[in-house]
C-alpha cells in the first residue's frame, strides 16, 4: 500500500479543544431533545456516542481548504470544523437566519464558507457529491486539499455508497470515507444490515486501504483520520476508515429505542461513554483539573444557553420568500 505519515501529536491545547467540542456536541444535542420535549421544536437528531469520532475527525480537518460532506448525525463534526452553536440552534428553530432559511430539517447544516456541503436526508445521496468535489480538487491539481465524507453503518448498504467508493478508487481521488459505525440504523442492528460486521473489510475489494479504529477514543480517531486525509491530500488516493462507536439514544426524537433493543445492552455500552472517559483521561494526565473541567462545562453551557436564547428570538422566514431560489431566474414553470 501507500506509505502513511504519522499524524502530528496533539498539544494539550488541542486535546482540551477536542474535549470542548465533545462536550458542546452533547450539550447541544441534549438541548435539542429538551426543546422538543418542551414542545418548542418539532424534531431533533441524536448523536450521543459519536463525540469522540467527530471531535477527532474535526481535529484532522484542515479549515479553509478541506471539504466536509457530513450526514445528519454530525453535530460535533460540524462544530469542530467551525460551525457555531448559534448556527446549530438557528437550524433547530428553523429561523430565517439559518443557512437554509429554515427550509431544511434540523442538523442539515451547510456553510459554503466553512466548506460544509448541503445535504438531504437521503442516506448515501451525498457520497457521489463528495466524490465529485474530490474530482474537482484533483482536476484543478490542488494538492493539500481533500474531502472528508461521513456516514453511518446503515449507509454502507446503499448502492450509491458502493458506486462512490468504486469511482473514487478508479480515479485515486483525494477523499476519506469515514464510517461512524454505531451498530444501529434506526432499529436495524448490524447483523441485519451486513453479512459480516466490519465495514473496513470492504476496502480491499475496491482497491483502497481500510482502517478500523476505536470510535470511542478521540485521539485514535484523530490519528486515523489525519493519516487518511494526509494520504488523500498528497495524491495517495482514498481510504475507508471505520470508527466503531455506539448510538446511546434513539435515532431521533421521533424514535423509541425501547421497542427494539434492551436497556441492558445500552447500559453495557455506557461504560465506554467517550465523554466522561475523555474527561477522566485529561484530568488523570493533569491536563485539566476538576475545577478547570467544571469551568469548561460551564462555559459550554453558557454558550449553549446564549445561542438558544438568541436563535429562539429570531424570526421565521417571511412566507413571501417561499419562491426564492428555485432557479437563478425566478420560479415560474410557465413563462
Amino acid at each position: 500500500m501507500t506509505s502513511t505519515t504519522k499524524a502530528p501529536a496533539l498539544t494539550d491545547e488541542q486535546l482540551v479543544a477536542m474535549l470542548r467540542v465533545m462536550i458542546a456536541q452533547r450539550t447541544l444535542e441534549n438541548r435539542g431533545f429538551a426543546l422538543n420535549r418542551q414542545g418548542k421544536i418539532p424534531f431533533a437528531s441524536a448523536s450521543e456516542g459519536h463525540e469522540a469520532v467527530q471531535a477527532g475527525a474535526a481535529m484532522a480537518f484542515k479549515r479553509g481548504s478541506d471539504i466536509l460532506c457530513p450526514y445528519y448525525r454530525d453535530l460535533g463534526l460540524a462544530l469542530g470544523v467551525g460551525l457555531t452553536p448559534y448556527e446549530v440552534m438557528l437550524s433547530l428553530f428553523a429561523r430565517a437566519a439559518d443557512h437554509s432559511a429554515g427550509r431544511q430539517f434540523p442538523h442539515h447544516y451547510a456553510s459554503k464558507k466553512l466548506g460544509i456541503h448541503t445535504i438531504s436526508s437521503i442516506i448515501a445521496a451525498q457520497l457521489p457529491h463528495a466524490v465529485g468535489a474530490a474530482y474537482a480538487i484533483k482536476i484543478r491539481k490542488q494538492t493539500g486539499r481533500a474531502v472528508l465524507a461521513t456516514f453511518g453503518d446503515g449507509c454502507t448498504s446503499e448502492g450509491e455508497w458502493h458506486e462512490s467508493l468504486n469511482f473514487a478508487a478508479v480515479h485515486r481521488l483525494p477523499i476519506v470515507f469515514l464510517c461512524e459505525n454505531n451498530e444501529w440504523a434506526i432499529s436495524t442492528p448490524l447483523s441485519k444490515q451486513m453479512g459480516q460486521p466490519d465495514v473496513a473489510k470492504r476496502a480491499a475489494g475496491y482497491g483502497m486501504p481500510g482502517v478500523i479504529v476505536d470510535g470511542m477514543d478521540p485521539v485514535a480517531c484523530y490519528e486515523a483520520v489525519a493519516e487518511a486525509l494526509e494520504r488523500a491530500r498528497t495524491g495517495g488516493g482514498p481510504t475507508l476508515v471505520e470508527a466503531k462507536c455506539y448510538r446511546f439514544l434513539s435515532h431521533t426524537t421521533d424514535d423509541d429505542d425501547r421497542t427494539y433493543r434492551t436497556r441492558e445492552e445500552v447500559e453495557a455500552h455506557r461504560k465506554n461513554d467517550p465523554v466522561p472517559c475523555f474527561e477522566r483521561t485529561l484530568v488523570v494526565r493533569g491536563i485539566l483539573t476538576e475545577a478547570s473541567l467544571d469551568a469548561l462545562k460551564q462555559s459550554v453551557l453558557k454558550e449553549a444557553n446564549e445561542a438558544t436564547d438568541a436563535a429562539e428570538a429570531m424570526p421565521y422566514a417571511d412566507p413571501a420568500t417561499l419562491t426564492d431560489n428555485v432557479y437563478a431566474d425566478g420560479h415560474e414553470p410557465w413563462r
Binding site: 448498504s157 446503499e158 458506486e163 478508487a169 478508479v170 447483523s191 453479512g195 475489494g205
Partner: protein, 342 residues
C-alpha cells in the same frame, strides 16, 4: 489458477463429469457459437435489426449450465447468456423467434433479442438495465428459503461492468445477511462496451469483494468449461443445502464487439483481440475432447453439421412465423383493463 492443460498428455480431470456430459457441454458451446453467428448474419442481411455477441463466453456458459439443475434451479441471466439459456433448456427455435420478434416468442416479440425468459425452464424475465435483475434473483432466492425448499438455488449472472452498479452491491449484501441460496457468477470478459476493466474498478479481481460481504469468493478460468462446471457446482450445492451464497468470477474475453451496433475497433486494437483468440474456448475444448479420445474428428464434424442443420431449420421455421398483431400491444398491461381512465 493455472489454465487447464489442453495438450492432452496428462489424464483429463473430469471433475465428476461423465463423457456424455463432456460431449454435451461441447455441443452447447458449438450451438451457442452457431446461433450467435447466425444473429450477426441475419443482421448483416437486413433481416433482423439487432443481435448481441457472446463469442468467448461459450465455456463459462456451458459449464455453468451443466451444473444447473433443470426443473429445480432458477436462472436469472443477462443479455449475453445465449449459451446458458440453451444449456438450461431453451431451444434454437425459441432463440430465433426472439431474434425475429415473432408472436410465438415467449415475450410476444416485445423484448429486445437475447432477452429470453421461460417460466417453464426457470429463466426469469429481465430488461436491458444492467443489475436490475439481481435484486429479483435475490428475491427469488428468498422465496426458496422462506418455503424451505431444499435442493433449489438461484444462479444469477452478469458481466464485469454490472458489478459497478449500486444494485449489484445491494443484492450481494442482502443475500449475505440472509444466507440465501444463490450463486452470483460474474462473466468477466474485460470489457463493458468500450470501458476496460481499469476504468471500471479500482482493483481488477471481482471475487475479492466476497470477503466484504462475508461470503466465499472464487476466481477461475472461464475459458475452461470443466473448471467452470466444478466451481459452479460446488457453489450451487452449497446454496442448495443451506450453506448460503457464493461470489464466483470466471475470467473470459469478449471477442466481438458488444453488439451489431458497436464497432470495437474504435476503442481497442485488433492485436489485443487476436492475442486473446489464441485462448478461444471452442477450438480448445474441441482439441481436449479429441486428444483424450472422447470424440473423433469425424464425430466433431458430424456434430457441427447437425447443429448447422438444426440452426437452419430453426431459422426457417421462426422466420415463417407471423409477427404479433397491432391489437396485441394492449395485452398484459394489467390483469384487467389497460385504460388508465375508468
Amino acid at each position: 489458477m493455472a489454465k487447464t492443460d489442453t495438450q492432452g498428455s496428462a489424464a483429463l480431470e473430469k471433475r465428476g463429469l461423465t463423457d456424455d456430459q463432456l460431449r454435451a457441454m461441447f455441443r452447447n458451446m458449438l450451438q451457442q457459437r452457431q446461433l450467435d453467428n447466425r444473429g450477426f448474419q441475419l443482421n448483416r442481411q437486413g433481416k433482423v435489426p439487432f443481435a448481441l455477441g457472446s463469442e468467448g463466453h461459450e465455456a463459462i456458459q456451458a459449464g455453468a449450465a451443466m451444473a444447473f439443475e433443470r426443473g429445480k434451479d432458477i436462472l436469472a441471466p443477462y443479455y449475453r447468456d445465449l449459451g446458458l439459456s440453451l444449456g438450461v433448456g431453451l431451444t434454437p427455435y425459441e432463440i430465433l423467434l426472439s431474434l425475429f420478434a415473432r408472436a410465438a416468442d415467449h415475450n410476444g416479440g416485445r423484448q429486445f433479442p437475447n432477452h429470453y425468459s421461460s417460466k417453464k425452464a426457470g429463466v426469469m424475465s429481465f430488461s436491458s438495465i444492467l443489475a436490475a435483475h439481481i435484486p429479483h434473483a435475490v428475491g427469488a432466492a428468498h422465496a426458496i428459503k422462506m418455503r424451505k425448499e431444499a435442493g433449489r438455488a438461484v444462479l444469477v449472472t452478469c458481466g464485469d461492468g454490472t458489478t459497478s452498479e449500486g444494485e449489484w452491491h445491494e443484492s450481494m449484501n442482502f443475500a449475505s445477511i440472509h444466507e440465501l441460496p444463490i450463486v452470483m457468477l460474474v462473466e468477466n470478459n474485460e470489457w463493458a462496451i468500450s470501458t476496460p476493466l481499469h476504468l471500471q474498478m479500482g482493483q481488477p479481481e471481482i471475487w475479492k469483494r466476497a470477503e466484504g460481504y462475508g461470503m466465499p469468493g472464487r476466481r477461475f478460468n472461464g475459458f475452461d468449461p470443466i473448471e467452470t462446471y466444478a466451481n459452479v457446482k460446488e457453489a450451487l450445492d452449497r446454496a442448495r443445502s443451506g450453506g448460503g451464497p457464493t461470489l464466483l468470477e470466471g475470467t473470459c474475453y469478449r471477442f466481438l464487439a458488444h453488439s451489431t451496433d458497436d464497432n470495437d475497433m474504435t476503442y481497442r486494437t485488433r492485436e489485443e483481440v487476436v492475442e486473446h483468440r489464441k485462448d478461444d474456448p471452442v477450438p480448445r475444448f474441441e482439441r481436449v475432447l479429441i486428444d483424450n479420445g472422447l470424440m473423433t474428428i469425424a464425430e466433431v464434424d458430424a456434430m457441427k453439421k447437425e447443429i448447422l442443420k438444426e440452426t437452419n431449420e430453426a431459422t426457417d421455421r421462426a422466420e415463417a412465423m407471423p409477427y404479433p398483431e397491432a391489437a396485441d400491444l394492449y395485452k398484459h398491461v394489467y390483469e384487467g383493463a389497460w385504460q388508465p381512465w375508468q
